[in-house]
């Protein structure tokens, strides 16, 4: 493990992408910044631009409208980066699988532009903040193997 990889797992900056979510997961993501969970203890902060990000926190089903934009945002993120599919919708489109406005699920959408993308799944509707912290820890453990 190189020095920069070590630094990467100590300082993951998160950009939040809403790919057609119902706002429930988004509220739970913001919960991570509150005094109770305080994710900044691990060096994680929310940033305003995908260019600064190391983690894309994707919530939502990935509609046909958002699909090309999600791919664009993924390409705009400097590598190495981790995609975190948050919620049942982002994991596998949930109850909306058969709906008319669905594109491919988040993981397939991103693998279409980068087959080697690192994708973490956080199931739940919405997932608890503890589950997201667990996913962050798993992402960090995965980055250690790079």
């Amino acid at each position: 493990m190189g020095v920069t990889t070590w630094a990467l797992q100590k300082s993951l900056w998160v950009y939040h992408v809403n790919a057609g979510a119902c706002n429930n997961c988004d509220i739970e993501v913001l919960e991570l910044l509150t005094p109770r969970y305080d994710i900044e203890r691990f060096g994680m902060v929310l940033v305003g631009s995908p260019r600064h990000a190391d983690v894309l926190a994707v919530t939502g089903v990935c509609t046909r409208q958002i699909m090309p934009r999600l791919q664009e945002v993924y390409l705009q993120t400097p590598k190495p980066c981790v995609v975190m599919a948050i919620g049942s919708c982002a994991g596998g489109q949930g109850i909306f699988t058969e709906a008319y406005h669905m594109a491919t699920p988040v993981d397939e959408t991103i693998r279409a532009v980068d087959p080697n993308a690192i994708i973490m799944y956080v199931p739940g509707c919405p997932p608890k903040p503890e589950a997201m912290i667990d996913a962050a820890v798993k992402a960090i453990n995965f980055l250690k193997t790079l």
Partner: protein
């Protein structure tokens, strides 16, 4: 040692020292913010790790960008801040040696980071960055005039205290104020207060962070920067955070007296007080709109600085 040798040694020592100091102050800022918000906050090495990480990331240049200007801007910003660091620390530790007009050079170089963020933002071809650059420009036009007036007050006090002609050498300025600093007078206090608000704007901290307002224009001027070039801008800002209090101490508060242990202690006390003020202002204020900012600087702080200058010229 030759003059060139000294210059290089000063640049390397002051530059690396200011880098470490600036990043540590960034951590203090984040930790205090976290404590104010009843959180735990990041560990002490967090800003260092952030910079190290950015060095290992990809450096993306957007397809709409002018590559050369986009990539040169952060380099020039960092380089000019390094030179400012060298001149200011040199004036602290060897006040007798220095060139005439180093204060003017410092003031010119201190505007370079703001100019370079504008240049880089304009070269990136991003509409959010363009809005940020326009705001940065208005901010620069707002705070430069009161800042210069406030610094003139320091010069006028030094001239009347030292009983000599006006000097633009930082070393002379410090020596004229060694017994009785400029801040121990009505005009000095007023000028220092104006300078503190101007420094807040120069550092781009809340309430004057409108050039990179995260929630409305997505970090504005820095929106297209990634990896090493972003790290260079952030390093330049961290160094500015370490340098602005130093400049204020040199101009208004008698500099650093290295002759005795209490000299160094009082210097550290003044320094920490000014840094704590930056964090305190940042944590207790909402962001101002650009028109409110310009009104504040032009119609409140500039008259205050001019008043301080008139007071200082009359010996108060």
């Amino acid at each position: 040692m030759t003059a060139l040798g000294w210059a290089i040694v000063t640049l390397v020592l002051a530059g690396s020292g200011t880098l470490v100091l600036g990043l540590t102050l960034r951590w203090v800022d984040r930790k205090v913010t976290a404590l104010v918000q009843w959180r735990v906050g990041p560990p002490w090495y967090q800003p260092f790790v952030d910079m190290l990480k950015l060095m290992g990331k990809e450096n993306l240049v957007p397809s709409t960008a002018r590559g050369t200007g986009f990539l040169i801007a952060p380099l020039v910003a960092l380089a000019s801040t390094l030179v400012v660091a060298a001149i200011l620390w040199h004036a602290c530790f060897r006040p007798q040696v220095g060139f005439v007009g180093d204060l003017i050079v410092v003031l010119y170089l201190l505007t370079m980071p703001a100019l370079m963020t504008m240049l880089g933002a304009s070269a990136s071809g991003n509409p959010h960055a363009a809005v940020g650059a326009s705001r940065e420009m208005k901010l620069l036009l707002s705070y430069e005039l009161p800042l210069l007036c406030a610094i003139l007050v320091g010069l006028a006090r030094a001239a009347s205290l030292g009983g000599a002609a006006w000097t633009f050498r930082l070393g002379d300025l410090v020596q004229a104020q060694s017994t009785w600093p400029a801040v121990a007078s009505a005009s000095g206090v007023l000028a220092l207060l104006v300078a503190i608000v101007c420094a807040q704007a120069k550092l781009g901290q809340v309430p004057f962070d409108l050039a990179e307002a995260e929630c409305e224009i997505m970090s504005g001027v820095l929106v297209e920067y990634s990896g090493p070039s972003l790290a260079m801008f952030l390093l330049a800002r961290a160094m500015l955070l370490a340098l602005m209090p130093l400049l204020m101490i040199l101009v208004f508060w008698g500099g650093l007296y290295t002759g005795a242990w209490w000299g160094i202690l009082t210097f550290a006390g003044k320094y920490l007080l000014l840094v704590a003020l930056v964090t305190l202002i940042r944590n207790t204020n909402p962001r101002l709109r650009i028109d409110q900012t310009m009104k504040l600087f032009w119609f409140v702080l500039t008259p205050a600085a001019v008043l301080a200058l008139i007071l200082a010229l009359n010996g108060h």
